[in-house]
C-alpha cells in the first residue's frame, strides 16, 4: 500500500519545527521504529538547515522547500528546493583527526545525514535539488 503526502513552506529557520514535526508524524504513521524516527529527524534537520542557510543566497522572497513523504516497503523522505545546485554527497567529509585548535566546524552535518539513514540519493532535476532519504522498515 502506497501513501504519499507533501508540504511546501518557506525556506526559513522558523519553519524548521513544522517541517520536522511533519516528517516525524508521517514516520510514526508508517510505523517506523522510534530509533529510526530519531535518526531520520536528525538527518532531515541537517539537510533542511543546510538548504535554509545556503541554497538561496540572493534572499528572494519566494524561497521554498517541498517535503514529500512516501510510505511503502520503505519510508522515503524527499527534500526539494529550487536553490543553487548543491549535492551534499559530493562534499568532502571533514577530517576528524584535527585537534581542538584546528578542527573545522563545517561538514559534520553532511556526515550525519549519510550515517543516520539507510540510503541517501541526490538528483538535480528541473532546476531543483532533490535529496532522497530512505529508511527501511524491516527492523
Amino acid at each position: 500500500m502506497k501513501h504519499e503526502i507533501e508540504i511546501t513552506l518557506s525556506a526559513v529557520l522558523g519553519n524548521l519545527e513544522t517541517f520536522l514535526s511533519f516528517i516525524v508524524t508521517q514516520a510514526q504513521k508508517a510505523k517506523l521504529s522510534r530509533e529510526k524516527i530519531n535518526k531520520l529527524e536528525l538527518a532531515a534537520e541537517e539537510a533542511l538547515v543546510n538548504i535554509i542557510k545556503h541554497a538561496y543566497p540572493s534572499n528572494k522572497k519566494d524561497n521554498y522547500i517541498k517535503i514529500k513523504c512516501k510510505d511503502n516497503n520503505s519510508f522515503v523522505l524527499e527534500i526539494i528546493d529550487e536553490g543553487i545546485p548543491f549535492n551534499p554527497l559530493n562534499i568532502r567529509e571533514p577530517n576528524l583527526n584535527f585537534d581542538i585548535e584546528t578542527r573545522p566546524i563545517g561538514g559534520v552535518g553532511i556526515l550525519l545525514i549519510k550515517k543516520m539513514v539507510d540510503f541517501v540519493e541526490y538528483k538535480r532535476q528541473d532546476n531543483n535539488n532533490l535529496l532522497r532519504l530512505i529508511m527501511q522498515k524491516s527492523h
Partner: protein, 117 residues
Amino acid sequence: MGGVQDYMELNNITKNNKSIISIIGKINAITAPEFEQYLKTLVNNGILKIILDFSKVDYISSAGLRAILVITKLLKTKSGSIVLASLKPEVKNVFEISGFTSIIPVVEDIEEAESKL
C-alpha cells in the same frame, strides 16, 4: 500533529568552582544558540570548569555540537576545561560519528566528571 517540540531547559549547580549544567530536551538548530549563549555567559563570568549532564538529553544535532566546540575552544583560551557526562546511546553515537569524542572528554557519570576536573 505530533512528535517534535523545540524544548530545552538548562539548570546550573555551582560548587567548588565547578558548574554542573543539567540539560533537558533537545539541542538542535533552534535551541543551540540559547545553549551556547548560556555557557558563554558562565565562562565570561569566570566559571572555568564545566560539566555538561546529558542524562536528560534525547537529541543533539550538528548545531549543538558546534556550540559545544565553540565553548570548548573558549575555555581553552582561559585554561579552563569541560567534560560531558551521562550521554544516552543515541546521543553518544552522534558524538562518535562526528569525531568529537576524541577531542572532548566524555565520561559515564557525574562522579567521574567531577574527578576529571
